[in-house]
């Protein structure tokens, strides 16, 4: 198979279209025309876009084309999940450098399709162009019943701060991928190391969990994309509140203990600032926590940790094991940090 420059745009678009979704519920007209046509939704529409750029969000030495495609969709699904909503349709814009061959491009779209199938959404359109690096913008639409959406803005003092799953695994996986091969050769095949790498390459969006937390009365919700502390600070800023986090209760990914014996890594720091966990972070009235936890475990096998409380005022504090409080810096991933 030739490189992309050897394909006409129409030929490559046709190859890509074959991999995009076929007939799907609600899709009146799929990829290939000026625009796609979909049936009107009965609920509120949800719209979100995320841009992934090679060298910033991923690199081709660690990520396969399928990984990139899968993740580009999954991180968007996570945004929909963080509204308490369900994804419906997706559109993908892909910029490809000359160094990418057509097989890579089709594998990229296959990864998108795999994620779309997993999360029950249809990819209904796309666009391709040349670019200096692989660039993927995914736009998703979703639906949420009127009154069922959870924004970042409703947290109230006294609400509990809860988070699904475990934190820091994706950042741990990135450390493993970036470590000198010689230093991690002995461990990369171990199950804990593979779980960390999987968390980085194939993050899971928490769609059912988001709907469950919305039903349980979550007053505010955000997905942990840029780091627990940074995303909590965003939720608090949007809600006009502060928060206190009990560090001992943070669900630090268990694999990070193993990791720290092989590469320089500080588990608590990775859990607080690592980013890309795509867990859901919510404010939840105290009376809803036990029920939500039980439902999440039963339906999805997903733990829910109660890690602190929403407070009046602003700013984050961390509470250590002795009960001492200190400011919690909202450090995390910043696309433009120098």
């Amino acid at each position: 198979m030739g490189d992309v420059s050897g394909f006409t745009e129409d030929e490559l678009l046709e190859a890509v279209r074959r991999v995009l979704s076929g007939p799907a519920p609600g899709v009146v007209l799929g990829p290939g025309d000026d625009a796609a046509l979909v049936e009107p939704g009965r609920h509120l529409g949800v719209l979100t876009v995320d841009l992934l750029v090679e060298g910033v969000d991923f690199d081709r030495s660690s990520y396969t084309a399928r990984d990139v495609g899968y993740k580009a969709v999954a991180v968007n699904v996570s945004d929909v999940a963080a509204m308490g909503a369900s994804p419906r349709y997706g559109l993908v814009a892909v910029g490809l450098p000359p160094s990418v061959d057509a097989r890579w491009a089709v594998e990229l779209v296959a990864g998108m399709r795999a994620a779309a199938d997993e999360y029950g959404l249809a990819l209904v359109g796309g666009d391709l162009s040349r670019a200096s690096e692989v660039t993927v913008a995914v736009t998703l639409t979703g639906e949420v019943p009127e009154g069922g959406a959870v924004t970042r803005a409703g947290a109230r003092p006294g609400d509990r701060v809860v988070v699904t799953g475990a934190l820091g695994a994706a950042a741990g996986g990135l450390l493993l991928l970036r470590a000198p091969a010689s230093s991690v050769a002995a461990v990369v095949a171990s199950s804990w190391a593979r779980r960390l790498v999987e968390a980085q390459l194939r993050p899971r969006a928490r769609v059912g969990e988001g709907r469950t937390l919305a039903s349980a009365g979550a007053t505010a919700m955000i997905d942990v994309s840029d780091g627990f502390a940074k995303d909590l600070s965003r939720l608090c800023a949007a809600s006009g509140v502060g928060a206190a986090v009990r560090l001992a209760d943070l669900p630090v990914a268990a694999e990070l203990g193993e990791l720290s014996r092989h590469v320089p890594a500080e588990p608590l720091g990775l859990a607080l600032g690592g980013g890309e966990d795509f867990e859901l972070l919510a404010a939840l009235p105290a009376e809803g926590v036990a029920k939500a936890r039980a439902v999440l475990l039963e339906r999805f096998g997903t733990p829910l940790a109660d890690v602190g409380e929403i407070r009046e005022g602003s700013g984050l504090v961390a509470i250590d094991e002795d009960g001492a409080e200190r400011p919690l810096e909202p450090r995390g991933w910043d696309h433009f940090a120098g």
Copy 2:
């Protein structure tokens, strides 16, 4: 104002959000949360995405930031128009190189906003990242009444081939922008030259015209983004038909005659293959042409040219002034052509 690297992502996102749409009909929650929320539409949903990349689709020496933003939205609106639909909501994903300062980024979004206001759509979300070159992906949603959408696939033998406005002006403008300054210094301020440059930098989408053509019974429609011949060949391929085009009837932009006296330019070639005109090209039953032409002129001041007919079979032919037919090559813009 510092460069983008001097801004945190949150600061730049906040600046961008202020320029994105404020309250707008149907928008329940605008930019700034994990996703936007919009009221469900009553009609079929329309979804489309376009990717513009610096060095491929524009360059910063000719385009201002506002031009880039305006065009990125307008070319998407054109796709919606080509379905006979109306745009509703937009999402923008922007990749920015370190050489771009924050003022440029905000101006880019201001150009998007100007186009959004002009076409009556609301920009409800966005994402920013670093990139090697300015990269802009715009996704639009729109609406079209059930049964009112016009795809590329319905053209029937005997239908007339019609096209709005004039062809080749945008390509002529590009020639002017790329010509050595010394060769065009005497003419760039003339009104014909400015109209050509405007056609390239600030293309107009034909939304009202698209709805009019749909109402007039258009059986297939496409916007002229990659060149008249290439886009006609796409419409014909999707419809399983061929077409014959009478070259003398093509609405070649009048300014191209002037242009050809100053730079090497072949008006008919630019009209057939130039691309980026964003005029609407449709197949229309003969009995609908006169009425559609009258309505388009009266409501929008837009001419409609009857340039040929849909035929059985496949392939395009050009008919010259003597009535002789020869194959019409579907040449045009190709993002991956070597």
